[in-house]
Symmetry: C2
Subunit: 474 residues, 2 copies
Amino acid sequence: MHATSSRPHAALPQAFVDSLSTTFGQRFSTAEAVRAHHGHDESHFPDALPDAVVWPHTTAEVVAIVRACRAHNVPIIAYGAGSSLEGHILALHGGISIDFSEMNKVLTVHHEDLDVVIQPGVTRKQLNAELHGTGLFFPVDPGADATLGGMASTRASGTNAVRYGTMRENVLGFEAVLADGTVIRTGSRARKSSAGYDLTHLLVGSEGTLALITEMTVRLHPLPEAVSGAVCAFADIDSAVHCVIQTIQLGIPVARIELLDTLTVQAINRYSKTTLREAPMLFFEFHGSPASVEEQAQTVQEIARDNGGQDFEWATRPEDRSRLWQARHDTYFACLNLRPGCRGITTDVCVPISRLADCIAGTRDDIAASGLIAPIVGHVGDGNFHTLILVDPDNADEIARAEALNRGIVARALAMDGTCTGEHGVGFGKQEFLVPEHGSGAVDAMRALKRALDPHNLFNPGKVVPPVGASTDR
Amino acid sequence: MHATSSRPHAALPQAFVDSLSTTFGQRFSTAEAVRAHHGHDESHFPDALPDAVVWPHTTAEVVAIVRACRAHNVPIIAYGAGSSLEGHILALHGGISIDFSEMNKVLTVHHEDLDVVIQPGVTRKQLNAELHGTGLFFPVDPGADATLGGMASTRASGTNAVRYGTMRENVLGFEAVLADGTVIRTGSRARKSSAGYDLTHLLVGSEGTLALITEMTVRLHPLPEAVSGAVCAFADIDSAVHCVIQTIQLGIPVARIELLDTLTVQAINRYSKTTLREAPMLFFEFHGSPASVEEQAQTVQEIARDNGGQDFEWATRPEDRSRLWQARHDTYFACLNLRPGCRGITTDVCVPISRLADCIAGTRDDIAASGLIAPIVGHVGDGNFHTLILVDPDNADEIARAEALNRGIVARALAMDGTCTGEHGVGFGKQEFLVPEHGSGAVDAMRALKRALDPHNLFNPGKVVPPVGASTDR
């Protein structure tokens, strides 16, 4: 299915190694263990090791690396936390992995403007920890404690995008290094602008293929005055999904609305020692003023009841909510635990909300027909859901069946005017779906943009834009 | 200051004229009056007439025009309603104006998904009229009854962007024709996607320089259950602005919050026969459930009182609100009316909200020093405000002073991390500010994108990206 991880590539030129060793000392490494750590992500794809790893501290250092790589034609892979799911950070063509984890300073919190300037290696949890006491928070929450640079690069979202938006809505601007070593600034701290092409949104989701992010400004949000959470069990997935659809269509500003199928709830109960009712379930969270939270909760409870939902079980104490959402976040590992030794292949389609019930029903039938184990969870308020297909990594037949299952799920979503990936990104795992989703004209346009900004294909080669002729229009 | 409007350009080749006449019949015109109508917008720049105008009805017809123009090297200017303010639609290099006003069908309302597919010539008022009875509306409201294609192209916003976002947040996807005649689709109807480069946001704000929009999908919003509006007078602008800042910082989801200075209120009273108190004033609108509207209004009233605001005057009846907002929308003409025979030069800076009071205070001082008449109005919830500098179009000295005033206002906004244009766009009127705002590296990157998608500079030449060397980094 995919490019193999072992394409031959020239080793690093000695002059290049010497130069980076001299400049970076201990912060440059060609050690096997270090390369191995940077040569795999959370996907099921085979490892593909970079030839070296470097940890810059400043934008000037990133520029120096880019210039050296350009001079010696060495591919560059930006590395955040390694939590990507589609092979984004695999060094398919060798080269150097730039690990941004030591560019992790929160630079300036602008309390009054509800924004913060950070380095790209700051992680989601770190940022919110450093914001403690300010009354502000950064909402985008993909589960993993990813770096903000990585989250911007994959256009990540997660459980509360339904209210606060994805990285697309929450990045105001970047400082970034282009492939010729030029440092650019995109955007400003103004809330809106019509001043020229939107370079910021071009870089959001570009997965390190167009530029290297060295600084970013992201929106913050006031901590809600009141928060309440609840879970509600349903007789079947359809009823749960219809509850979601009606909630969204009424414009209720719910902060989180997550679907878990019965198998997922069982996995969570086993893994997180919870005692949730083992049925299809929605997890809710409401943010706002006390009155508005109460109003939202009441309305949603009525909608749930109309759809045969059991009574809400409330989690009003912060520690109860934390336990609940920690359990939700641990879903990935809880589900992997259903089948010891397995790996997960995660699907990530997103469809218009009107098609969500049909899309999930069809997916469930596909799973049953495949004979594979694949729990379903979803950020259903956005029309986005995942199946985690559990496969034996040594069983080629199972992997082939899982990939076929994924292809079928994507094809259905595209036929419903949806997307092959709601939040995980393309990496190389989703490349084959870009032409079917966007058409060859749009993908050619993407290819032209890549060539315009990175004519020597220095940045993360082999990712996002598929090779010419890799797939055809649907 | 600007490129002149009378650059020599070759007349249209006869073969081209013959071909389009044959295909489009009455929908192709080289008549002087038609060309004159398409050769000026609402800016103060001298007219620049296209050599011909064509009214396509279908995407296929747009493709045919693009192919003919490419073959004969004829520039193409996309034309919506002609309400742009920075010379966007002026035919600086001649060529053909494609008037999209007859591609104005509302194609499909997806009630359940809160989106609608339209042709680009649909106007804002038309769309909301056609949505009547659906319980949904399209919120972006720049005042003028612009076309949606034009609004997307300038990344327009207006009075209620503070709650509903700008065109950036409200376009889900496009069908568009590239400079080689390829038809592409960008985006999908899914609420979010990580599937490749964000072509949709690259086209939003690109002012017809990268592609021609032939269809678009935009978000709709549920009509709020309750709406209430109010006006509140303040002792001075500073107090009004501080009321705005505190409202935004508290995260109150106010739908509209508009500043009018005393001169503007006087102009409105005279033009719209209103009896508003002639003092700096905020216009508010609150949307939501009845309880939430009440809560918002109460909180904002307290904030206003803390800042010395007079009591709110409520406009709860729809007809009173309509009159109020119509008066607000007529501000442009009301202010022009302050000085019969004048033209307006509109500034459009946007700054982080924390700098708004200083920015407006400095602007006020600049206006006083300039000796010019220039009322101030603003979408202050976004940090965006306009001054409408009233000039005698035949007085070169006044125009020069007005341009100097505008430059000073922009320089201050940029020094405050803001933008030269919050919502009007670049056209050619703002080109000189792009390098000072973004730096030459970012502008070079924009230039590379333009070359990649439109290598023969067919689409709206002379707009958005400034000529090389036109201005330098600040």
